[in-house]
Symmetry: C2
Subunit: 137 residues, 2 copies
Amino acid sequence: MSTTKEHDPNIVGLRMTKHRKVVYNVLMNERDHPTASEVYDRSRKINPEISLATVYNCLDALVGYGAVKQVNFERESSRYCPNLSEHGHFHDGNTGVIHDITFKEGTNLSQFLNLPDGCTIDDLEITIRGSIPPTSN
Amino acid sequence: MSTTKEHDPNIVGLRMTKHRKVVYNVLMNERDHPTASEVYDRSRKINPEISLATVYNCLDALVGYGAVKQVNFERESSRYCPNLSEHGHFHDGNTGVIHDITFKEGTNLSQFLNLPDGCTIDDLEITIRGSIPPTSN
DNA sequence: AATGAGACTTAGAATAATTCTAATTTAGCG
DNA sequence: CGCTAAATTAGAATTATTCTAAGTCTCATT
């Protein structure tokens, strides 16, 4: 489960620097929605001379090119997620773990929301706070 | 449309002070999802000696007692909303206006989301960023 | 209506996440 | 291989929010 492969976003137009690679690999290798400062800590283990400002820059660049998603929960620090598929987040209050949640096949927003007439949707964020019962097995 | 009534949350257990009344009325009289500092500006017009810290305290108290909702959009300043019914928000990128959006009658989350087994939901936040075509009439 | 305890309010300092600045280094095209 | 624009850096700056400690008010109880 902890295969440490080399990942490469390979995005057209995104200049691939040493630091961007490190940050991207940090996100791919432990997909637990880390904050910028957690990414910073992990990145320094790989390349100790990276700075926090660079981590922010790299994350911004990766988000800007659509290689990772930025997740905001309440007003906490932003978190970063390499899951590019359309999904929401379930924040388990017991464990603090953030789970990705997907839509059921063939779901369309206007089926259940009263959206403004003729609106265009650029981005959707669904965040649920709750708890998951401990598995009894 | 700009009736300036006196509103009172009348919540059991919520001590109703002068400042809390002012803050609550500010929210009720212009229901446009203001930030704390916008609430501060409007409150000072009614009662110039209110402080920003008090505005934060009052908003926190009102949120804590369920008299208003706190809305977070990305990592921008929190906004406050006296619409207590279950609803999401549509952020119009053209105008900057935030519209409340409601669920269609009888909607259940698990109809369209793959939720964790047996999870309990405490809070749901749906935020859509998009645009609404200008009305042509 | 007076009292008192605890909750509210205040100004200003402190904090925390993020962004900015200006100087230096680097990627990658030609 | 040299060049130029873009990336990186350390540290300062910014911004929203929270904290602190002292003074004030609300309201249940008299």
